[in-house]
């Protein structure tokens, strides 16, 4: 038997799940897609006393358009459903674009949107995209509900603001189509691996070609996804040309302070971080309104 002993509950309503989480507090682990938790149970890196399996709760698996043009996504929505959703493609194309880079299709068939965000692996795509988009997370507990911005949610590697007794129930993302242009790049050894370094960029460029807003988010290079503010400022108010891109690429490399690990050295991550940030900006610039720029 691989996992250590635990008590298992499979609540069939949200209320029941929240009561169980309140009752068991720190002793309980939520089981969503299991694509990160099950390896930890099998290797006994996690030995929770109680496992609360949320897969039998109805109505936690949905992708709903919101009036402001964005999306509300239920925490239990499978990564594969997000990947295949036409409304995701229309409203937040950058979210659709990252999905195929998450693991392999068999894993995305089980893995959930909420699970990836709650797990908060610093090299994971979904936390980075939600962070770049200024997403909001709905945390529910038996007695309360609070909504946190992504910047207040990701704390350190594998650590979020989700408290004992709380369940992430919904992810809210604002619209980023139309006048928003975007780029996504990551470097990994094999298709489907976690990124050694990754970048997500979002730009608004006015009719004169001047950059009006910029967001450059890097991941796999720190404990949480990171905005590179100094590089964003260097883009604002200018037309984006080669020399601007060269500067921005340099600034990104300078600003990164990654660790070395068995996958890549810190120096490699800094260097490549600047290169792929530049590529995401080039991709964003070349995308015309409403066009996927492919």
């Amino acid at each position: 038997m691989k996992p250590a002993k635990f008590e298992y509950f499979a609540p069939t309503s949200l209320a029941e799940a929240l009561e169980l989480l309140e009752e068991h507090g720190d002793d309980a682990k939520v089981l969503a897609g299991g694509q990160s938790l099950m390896p930890m149970l099998n290797m006994r890196l996690a030995r929770p006393k109680v496992v609360v399996d949320i897969n039998r709760i109805p109505n936690l698996d949905y992708i709903s358009p919101t009036p402001d043009g964005g999306l509300a996504i239920g925490a239990l929505t499978r990564q594969r459903s997000v990947e295949r959703s036409t409304v995701v493609e229309e409203r937040i194309p950058v979210l659709a674009a990252v999905m195929p880079s998450i693991a392999h299709f068999q894993i995305r068939n089980r893995g959930t949107m909420g699970g990836s965000i709650s797990h908060a692996d610093p090299a994971a795509e979904l936390p980075a995209v939600c962070f770049a988009l200024d997403g909001e997370f709905v945390l529910s507990s038996a007695s309360d509900q609070r909504v946190l911005k992504a910047e207040n949610f990701f704390i350190s590697p594998l650590t979020t603001a989700i408290g004992p007794g709380e369940l992430l129930t919904e992810i809210r993302l604002p619209a980023r189509s139309g006048e928003w242009r975007w780029g996504f790049e990551e470097v990994c050894r094999r298709q489907g691996d976690f990124a050694m370094v990754g970048a997500v960029s979002l730009l608004q460029i006015d009719d004169d070609g001047v950059c009006r807003s910029a967001c450059i988010t890097m991941f796999g290079v720190g404990g949480t996804p990171l905005r590179i503010r100094r590089a964003e400022e260097a883009l604002l108010g200018d037309r984006i040309n080669d020399s601007v891109l060269e500067d921005v690429s340099k600034i990104v490399s300078e600003e990164l302070d990654p660790d070395s690990d068995i996958h890549a050295s810190a120096a490699y991550r800094k260097e490549v971080g600047g290169v792929i940030a530049r590529r995401t900006l080039e991709a964003a610039v070349s995308r015309v309104n409403g066009d996927d720029g492919a």
Binding site: M1, P3, P39, N109
Partner: protein, 167 residues
């Protein structure tokens, strides 16, 4: 219910089973140890190798990353469900013809992954096949014959499961 054991009812390859399982038992171990369906292989038990791939309500999943209790009420297909008795299906024959297996350890996972891929993308391109099997590790064949076998099957008639035809 919170006791260490639970009753699980599943349909595997068209046959119904009911069994009492410990809640911490993985679905892969349940298939192999309780149901004696040892065609599903275990290479890594943490989601990396793909040898344990089965169909869970029609979707390809890692059976090492699910608990047996989670399969209660589900319809599963394992590699034993592909052939009709002794008659291999077209995908299996294409693996044989193209020498797409040597030791055979990865083969059950490759077959189930390829089956799911072909259901989804009936006549895939080489790139689609490569991406489709990117989550399955083979240490023997060098992948080229596996890709050939899947491409060849994709050019032929659609695959069906014996259980679907009878049901």
């Amino acid at each position: 219910m919170t006791t260490a054991n639970r009753t699980v009812k599943v349909t595997v390859n068209g046959k119904e089973y009911e069994s009492s399982v410990e809640v911490r038992k993985t679905l892969a171990d349940f298939l192999r140890d309780e149901l004696d369906l040892t065609g599903t292989h275990l290479g890594c038990e943490h989601g990396v190798c793909g040898a344990c791939t089965i169909l869970f309500n029609g979707d390809a999943v890692r059976s090492c990353l699910m608990l047996a209790v989670q399969a209660d009420g589900a319809d599963l297909t394992t590699v034993e469900g592909l052939a009709r008795g002794e008659d291999l299906n077209a995908l299996q024959l294409a693996f044989q013809e193209n020498h797409a297996l040597q030791c055979g350890f990865c083969t059950p996972g490759m077959l189930m992954t390829a089956y799911a891929l072909l259901q989804d993308t009936p006549n895939p391109t080489e790139d689609q096949v490569k991406e489709g099997i990117s989550g399955n590790i083979c240490r023997c064949t060098g992948y080229a014959p596996i890709i050939q076998a899947i491409l060849q099957t994709g050019r032929g008639p659609a695959l069906t499961l014996p259980t679907n035809e009878e049901g």
